[in-house]
């Protein structure tokens, strides 16, 4: 239906640079999540795609059509807003029908499309109700149904689940994934919640300071972060980064010798909490346990190795005690090496 090309989009608000030269291509039918902390520019980028904000430079091309100068209403997009923006003075039917009415669709077509969209989102029993009589989750469904009813080539979603409580969010996430897979709409989804991005997206674009730090499949972003920022932002707990010194292209640890991507010098060794295996003291990295948090699925053990704070996901009920010292063995296949100066990953030779 529509491929999206974001070509060198930059945005300044006065002297502040909100977006620096963003290049991004979203394939037809693909689901891309823009993930980043607040103020990283992800919502600004989404609003520029929608035409609600104008870019300082660059082009937006959707389905081969340059939309940079095209007003929002003629871009043919659909959007789900953070606070839903479901019209309070229209009932559910009229809300879902709104986009179709604007397109001048006839009553029969409106009825069919509204029926299909509301059925997909399980809100058919509420067609006559006004939004004030709906729960947050139901309003959210109305907002999504309104967007899908126009069968848009591109769907933009701005933190659509962030106003829901945790359990409902989990439920809606799974449902949204199923619904969007069926609709096969090219989707750009803005979120600051990394589990949401991981769970929903085909690819994640991690944004920071107005740039895309990395764009890749969720597992790749998780396992092979391109920068220390990505490693720290994606995943909970964040990735551990341990400063190490390399000699003879290897990192020597007590009882372990790991190959390093450069001959000598200082590097940051990045490793996920679950890729550190607790072993007896004297083996691997020395680790002084400070806090043990039993989280059910595993125990989150926080402590220090030398000066560096590390978090380790130990098997549940492993009985680690604060104030004791153990050893940690990193899984050599799951290491990432970062340049300490630039914070960027070094490609293994």
């Amino acid at each position: 239906m529509a491929e999206i090309t974001i070509d060198g989009i930059a945005k300044s608000f006065g002297a502040t640079r909100a977006l620096e030269q963003i290049d991004l291509t979203v394939a037809d039918g693909e689901f891309v999540a823009l993930l980043g902390p607040s103020g990283c520019g992800k919502t600004t980028l989404l609003r520029i795609i929608a035409g609600l904000e104008s870019a300082t430079s660059g082009r937006i091309v959707i389905g081969g059509r340059d939309l940079t100068e095209v007003p929002t209403r003629r871009r043919g997009l659909a959007m789900v807003f953070q606070n839903y923006a479901v019209f309070p003075h229209m009932n559910v039917y009229e809300n879902v029908a709104f986009g179709l009415r604007m397109q001048g669709a006839d009553e029969a077509r409106i009825k069919a499309r509204v029926g299909k969209a509301t059925e997909l989102l399980h809100i058919t029993p509420y067609l006559d109700r006004y939004p004030a009589k709906l729960s947050g989750g139901q309003r959210q469904r109305v907002a999504v149904a309104r967007a899908l009813a126009v069968e848009p080539p591109v769907l933009l979603m701005d933190e659509p689940l962030s106003n829901l409580d945790a359990l409902l969010r989990l439920e809606m996430r799974a449902e949204l994934k199923a619904v969007l897979r069926e609709a096969r709409t090219t989707t750009i989804y803005v979120t600051h919640d990394q589990t949401e991005a991981m769970g929903l997206a085909d690819r994640i674009a991690v944004m920071h300071g107005g740039r895309i730090e990395q764009i890749d499949r969720p597992t790749a972003v998780y396992e092979r972060p391109a920068t220390t920022f990505v490693g720290g932002f994606v995943g909970s707990p964040p990735m551990n980064f341990l400063p190490v010194t390399i000699a003879n292209s290897r990192l020597e640890l007590p009882g372990a010798s790991l190959p390093a991507p450069q001959a000598s010098g200082a590097l940051l060794m990045g490793i996920r909490a679950e890729d550190l295996t607790p072993v007896a003291d004297g083996e691997g990295l020395p680790f002084d346990i400070a806090v043990v948090e039993p989280l059910g699925a595993h125990d989150l053990v926080t402590g220090r190795s030398g000066q560096t704070l590390l978090r380790v996901a130990a098997p549940a009920g492993s009985g680690h005690k604060p104030g004791t010292r153990i050893g940690l063995k990193p899984d050599p296949k799951r290491l990432v090496w970062m340049d300490p100066a630039s914070g960027r990953a070094i490609q293994a030779q």
Binding site: R73, A85, F87, M102, R146
Partner: protein, 284 residues
């Protein structure tokens, strides 16, 4: 002990304002009602009969309604346009709003005198028209022989003087509407006019209701501007009450006029409350 104290507290705090309102509003109202229905201490409808049979009564009633029906819709339309324009302004918004609301700070009599200075025989308007060669000398616009232009003058002055209060209420109301509603409508293909008609206007209804009630009630009480511009050439209801009270020294008929104005204002308010009602379920 503490419990009773805290339960009584709201009423204690409200008491001064209740006493105040009873003393200067409720008592005079009751007194006015009593006055209007009595003649030399005897209950009677005489005051109302005198009011209705007075020569100026029909004229005053007609003029007042005419003014309200012409002025209030124009003011609403103007204020809607102005408030939407103000919303679009980025820099200098406060300055524009400030300038537009200057007439609010001018007393209605002063406003009437300003327009008298413009519209009278040797006023600014005639000087300008004379300068342009459109009239040959001082021309009267505000006499009983020129009811059209007199009415127009009063309408102009009222619009200039009192549109700002509608504007202020609507600007405040517009700010309460989250911009996402308009953005959502825009994304789904609505044109600016459609957004205004189908989104902004319905969501602004509570503010429109407030502004209309306030403005209409005040418009029925129009007096000082009319008096300054037209004197007795353009009788209105409050003006008649004033004449009966002061010139004719007849408090009873003046009270009857006052009651008529109260009833008309209450009726107008009731109509607005009903027509512009937003059902609870449709409130945001």
């Amino acid at each position: 002990m503490k419990r009773t104290q805290s339960r009584a507290l709201p009423y204690l705090l409200l008491a001064p304002s209740l006493v105040f309102l009873t003393a200067i509003f409720l008592l005079p109202l009751v007194q006015t009602i009593a006055l209007s229905f009595s003649e030399s201490g005897v209950a009677s409808l005489g005051n109302y009969r005198r009011m209705v049979s007075d020569l100026n009564f029909g004229l005053a009633l007609r003029n007042t309604f005419l003014l309200v029906l012409v002025v209030v819709p124009i003011q609403l339309a103007l204020a809607l346009g102005m408030s939407v324009m103000i919303e679009k302004i980025g820099r200098g918004r406060d300055l524009v709003l400030w300038v537009w609301t200057i007439p609010l700070g001018v007393s209605d009599l002063a406003a009437g005198l300003v327009w008298l200075a413009i519209l009278q025989d040797r006023g600014y308007l005639n000087s300008a028209l004379y300068g342009l060669g459109l009239i040959e000398g001082p021309t009267a616009w505000l006499t009983y022989e020129t009811p059209g232009t007199l009415f127009l003058g009063v309408v102009l002055a009222e619009i200039w003087r009192a549109t700002a209060i509608v504007l202020v209420i609507l600007v405040a109301g517009l700010q309460l509407i989250p911009k996402e509603y308009r953005e959502a409508a825009e994304v789904f293909g609505a044109r600016p006019w459609t957004i205004f008609r189908r989104i902004t206007l319905p969501l602004l209804k509570p503010s429109i209701q407030t502004a209309l009630i306030l403005r209409t009630v005040l418009a029925f009480e129009v007096f000082a501007v009319v008096y300054a511009i037209g004197g007795t050439n353009f009788p209105v209801l409050v003006g008649e009450a004033y004449t009966w009270q002061n010139a004719n020294q007849n408090t009873g008929v003046a009270a009857a006029y006052a009651m008529l104005i109260v009833v008309i204002s209450l009726a107008a308010t009731a109509i607005y409350l009903r027509v512009l009602r937003v059902p609870a379920e449709q409130q945001p």
